[in-house]
Symmetry: C2
Subunit: 218 residues, 2 copies
DNA sequence: CGTTCCATAGGGTGTTTACCCCAATTTAGT
DNA sequence: ACTAAATTGGGGTAAACACCCTATGGAACG
């Protein structure tokens, strides 16, 4: 018989979290060792629940899941991580791959797919839903966002990405300049190059893009 | 023994839909007669699945769930409707009450709460989660959004609400004026009064508000 | 029958944005 | 080492935005 697997399930919606937990517990070899409503709580439960695998929702306020995943892989390298999300934004996939996630399952998949993803990951493999897989390329050092996907937000430089977040937070150029100790002209130049790269020409559409791509909350 | 209840479950995320369906089917008196991934498909399944109750997610692209609910109550007045949502925006509650929904359960509730909400509604009652209930007032003609809640988006006039949606779509004042055959000055006045009512002073924050409140998609 | 809100429209003004030009220094990649 | 990009900063301009004022006709509510 297969060894049992302890799972830490993280989702802010009790409805989803508990329903999925009950589904997972119908599998004899899967044990939901703990559940958590956010990434912070999840970190706190890693030590005492001793999970073999963490199933974590991305769509939680604050977007702290990737930072939490990074910390877990540092302190508990053997723990596998599978992300869940309703979306497959480039920004999400990019960060999931950056923290060396073992899987990314979209919520358009059935619970059965989650179960098979878990088994696949436990046996040393990986599982990425089709929508996600289609944007990934494999190279020497591992998995990366594909060229097609990178043509959008992924081509923004680090500083440009930062500026985009500020804009989407509602900060105007003067405020962004102040808070970053740079010239308003520099902010202007950054935003102009962002707009050129994304072929967006108004602040409003820039904000909508950032929210749609999961770079900022509304 | 209680009569059995046929349920039509509508949610665009298979993960949630199927997991919840399995949970509901553990109750002997509850039958998931059909499931649908969107409001349109749900309408098509009402006739053949003959549900006693429809459990419908609000958070689906297009926001057609309220229109679908309206049509169902017209053609099948006996069918009860409970909405599910991760959010409890004024705009959502307002529309749910407008279509005479029998319940509104937030996704922060456990699946067990959904089950008891269903039973409550079946026995002639109603169920609204606490976050929703706290914004509702009862008057002679039924349920309405409370005064506190109405102090935000609910106090916007019909025309102002319309303008807000245009702004959140990325239209500038000139375009809004053109498409509505009114003066740019009029649009300007509408937007100014919206901003005054909401205590918002930039277009970006207006857009973020509209998206947050479910008045527009990002 | 007045008061209040709504929708319409205009004048005017200072601020902010979008985008054109240019250039220096630093960082990254091949 | 050389090239490309990123990051920084500036001048200038036309458009858009936020907001101040007034004003008229209609609908609503008591």
């Amino acid at each position: 018989m297969t060894k049992q697997c302890r799972i830490l399930l993280v989702d802010d919606h009790a409805l989803v979290r508990d329903a999925l937990a009950e589904r997972l517990m119908r599998e004899p070899d899967l044990i939901v060792a703990a559940v958590a409503p956010d990434a912070k709580e999840a970190l706190a439960r890693v030590a005492d629940s001793a999970p073999d695998l963490i199933l974590m929702d991305i769509d939680m306020p604050g977007m702290l899941c990737f930072e939490a995943a990074r910390r877990v892989t540092e302190s508990h390298p053997a723990v596998k991580i599978i992300f869940l999300s309703a979306f497959f934004h480039d920004a999400y996939i990019d960060q999931a791959l950056a923290v060396r996630a073992h899987g990314y399952v979209t919520k358009s998949e059935s619970p059965d797919v989650v179960v098979s993803a878990i088994r696949e990951v436990l046996s040393g493999g990986a599982y990425f839903s089709e929508e996600v897989r289609s944007r990934i390329v494999v190279d020497g050092s591992g998995l990366r966002l594909g060229a097609g996907a990178r043509s959008r937000s992924a081509t923004l430089s680090r500083r440009e990405m930062e500026m985009l977040r500020y804009v989407a937070q509602g900060w105007n150029k003067k405020l962004i300049a102040l808070r970053n100790n740079i010239s308003v002209k520099t902010v202007d130049n950054h935003i102009s190059s962002i707009m050129e790269k994304l072929d967006i020409h108004t602040t409003v559409d820039l904000v909508r893009f950032a929210i749609r791509e999961g770079l900022a909350d509304a």
